[in-house]
Subunit: 188 residues, 2 copies
Amino acid sequence: MPKISEERKAERREQILAGARRCFSRHGYEGATVARLEEEIGLSRGAIFNYFGSKEDIFLELAWRDSERLIRLWLDEGWEQTLRSIVEEDPEWLGVYFELTRKARTDPEFSRRHEERTQEQLAPGLIEHVRADQQRGALRDDLPPERLAGFVSLVANGVAFQTAYGEPIRNVDALVELVRSAVEPPTA
Amino acid sequence: MPKISEERKAERREQILAGARRCFSRHGYEGATVARLEEEIGLSRGAIFNYFGSKEDIFLELAWRDSERLIRLWLDEGWEQTLRSIVEEDPEWLGVYFELTRKARTDPEFSRRHEERTQEQLAPGLIEHVRADQQRGALRDDLPPERLAGFVSLVANGVAFQTAYGEPIRNVDALVELVRSAVEPPTA
């Protein structure tokens, strides 16, 4: 095989991830067969699995990137922008995320790999961020930071669920206002 | 066939629903084959489908009863008890509810039948109840009742999602406190 540059390798990885994401959205996780992945990505199975060990690995990378993007958005622009971003998420892709949920319930190893990466690598920075917001008075401080972060995550999961279910958020401003009343200190 | 009393018929229906619920929890919606339903219910397919037209009908009845029970709980005891009840829901059964979600996404007729019954028969009473709570000062009145009911439903969906996903609510009192701050008027 000809040698290819690191840059070209990185491009290929992105090509595979983008095509796989479209394929999962269209056909679901189980329905995204290797043949369909090849077609949507535009590479042979040999090339695809040269970059990722398995379909599960591709999927975990996509799910992990979603988590990372949302947590980074929270760190950079706050919980409000994070919620607004989920409201605008592609319902088809969220449907795939629910398949992940189902798979995680029945496959502890799959679940462990996903949790390990999201919980251990992403969650601690978020908790620190929430604690800092509490200290400067931007968030209520009568509950531990884990509870506040957990609550916003819970609302985000509810939004994702309803969006995938075809019952999208009708009034995102009202939602943000309600969450604000929950997590910010009462105005004196 | 011998004639059986109305009372006996009602008992049979309950027997079928209880057995089917166990069967769906154990095997999922797709995995609950007619043979498994027969075994778990303890009746032949002929007897079962004498009471319900199809597996889908049995499932819709179970899903509808869940919605009805939760809304009745809200009307009788308030949103707080409703949230607490969902926290204690069987994760396996909630997993089946997610299968319903998936099915509804891909099967508009299934979705329509479920929505028709829950939205049209149950939702209006709930909105009236929220409006009355707003009028007596128990809930904030600067947002329409639909938004408040929708928010609590969204949180409930988040709870159900996380419970099924194996990430159950660790501190239900903190959750209730946060939702209270969101939906109740600020204390003067």
